[in-house]
Symmetry: C2
Subunit: 285 residues, 2 copies
């Protein structure tokens, strides 16, 4: 008998999340509030343009307003921050997403920090990160939130499991590590300086690949029965995981595309709607 493999279908998880939002958006509209996400794209990276467009389209389909700010690649850090501050002050904007990465001459961290915490729907500010680390964030970063949402949707146990995260970026590896930790996983964080990477990954009951290298995670790194989550997105819609090879050992795996990606967008929509709800609650007070 062939072992059954669970393909963790991101589209299905995203659909369930969006369905839950419909009612919330309706209730907001009764108060004459339309949730609004402002996306900021700096420069002309085609992948980034695609992501931003996908996010805008996803908003539109759900009746969330979106404002698309496009700035030339010559934009300075100061100009970008000035733009963010305008959006901070705009009462119609509930969420602000600065598409990563920005051109190299811009201080991305400074730009992220400029986003007011109430509108930081992608959890990129340091305060947002820390609130997440301490378990009381309103809006964790969307990709980490998506990874947790997928595991929860499929009832994959996290508590007591050993999660191995490959990658330590401030908006993916680090926050997903603390989110798994706060859900009582034992967490190992690996990265480019890790010795014996394959041996460590082989310990993982849950393996999260967030490294940004196509097909990086090899099949024989996966412990039989492990759950593999591929948070990578590389050119040509290729994940960080050698899918076919890892599928051999995994009990469950996210594909690319249609794995973490659509759930990340659903998390962004969810956070935007929740930001609008919080805005309403505050203005009622």
């Amino acid at each position: 008998m062939k072992e059954e493999k669970l393909i963790l279908d991101g589209n299905r998880v995203a659909a369930a999340m969006k369905e839950g939002l419909v009612e919330q958006i309706k209730r907001l509209s009764e108060k004459e509030i339309v949730p609004c996400l402002a996306t900021i794209l700096v420069g002309d990276d085609p992948s980034s343009a695609t992501y931003v467009r996908m996010k805008g389209n996803a908003c539109a389909r759900l009746g969330i307003h979106s404002i698309r700010v496009e700035l030339p690649s010559t934009t300075t850090t100061e100009e970008l921050i000035a733009k963010i501050n305008k959006l901070n002050d705009d009462p119609h904007v509930h969420g602000i997403l600065l598409q990563h990465p920005v051109p190299h001459h811009i201080d991305e961290r400074a730009a992220f920090e400029a986003i007011r915490i109430e509108k930081d729907v992608d959890g990129v500010t340091t305060i947002g990160f820390a609130q997440n680390a301490f378990g009381f964030a309103d809006f964790p970063s969307c990709t980490p939130a998506a990874i947790i949402a997928i595991l929860e949707y499929y009832n994959i146990p996290i508590e007591g499991k050993h999660a191995v995260v490959i990658g330590r970026s401030p908006i993916l590896g680090k926050p997903v590590s603390v989110m798994l930790l706060n859900r009582n996983a034992t967490v190992t964080i690996c990265h480019s300086k890790t010795a014996n990477l394959a041996r460590l990954v082989r310990l993982g009951d849950i393996v999260v690949a967030a490294v940004g290298k196509p097909n990086f995670v090899q099949g024989d790194w996966i412990k039989p029965g492990a759950v593999v989550v591929d948070a990578g997105y590389n050119k040509g819609n290729i994940g960080d995981v050698d899918y076919e090879a890892c599928l051999e050992n995994a009990s469950a795996i996210t594909p690319v595309p249609a794995g973490v990606g659509p759930v990340t967008i659903a998390a962004l929509l969810k956070h935007t709607v929740e930001a609008a709800e919080r805005f309403l609650a505050k203005s009622v007070l």
Copy 2:
């Protein structure tokens, strides 16, 4: 031939750190600034009272001013925060230390958050934690900072090593994990829900015990040649590590007392002096 064991002498590290501070304190005094630490003790826990007294004495020996605030165990969260706000507003106070733990009825997190970031010399605020996690904190929590200082003083390599941290508290396990991670260690964070703890600890090139249970870490958990750091302090000056047993396998180990403890106090003094320097730099601007 008997293998040589390195006893990581916290008093020696602390002395070196304090020596470096003398010149800084002298320069500040030329500008008529005396660094000042306010310690807050709530309730009458005898260990906490001892720690606070030790901190005050250490300040005095170095010419750092200290203000000792003692509040009854019946103090409310609001009263504590009001007191912290007074210290925030006092231009003569450069650092504020709220002794952990406070009585259970107090919202300790809310009290920590009230400390202004410029005066958060023990790195207890969420923003302080996040800045530390992202590698640009002014003042990481003192015990994690002490652990790093000890490793650095003894030239123990961190990069590429596997560090296993036992404990995940917001002021010890979590921050020391990110500090080791930011110094390019691979980090595994274990805790009460970890399965196979002994097996995981045995992977560690560096083992940090921050669990708060006397003699918890057993000798046969330690990989031969590993470095063992005991950040525990339990009643009767007993660490989290079964010292004699772990010494068998370890290549280097911190004793209790005279290990992490004195360096934690030295880190607190260092942060207080640095906070005074930053205050001066700002007031000169």
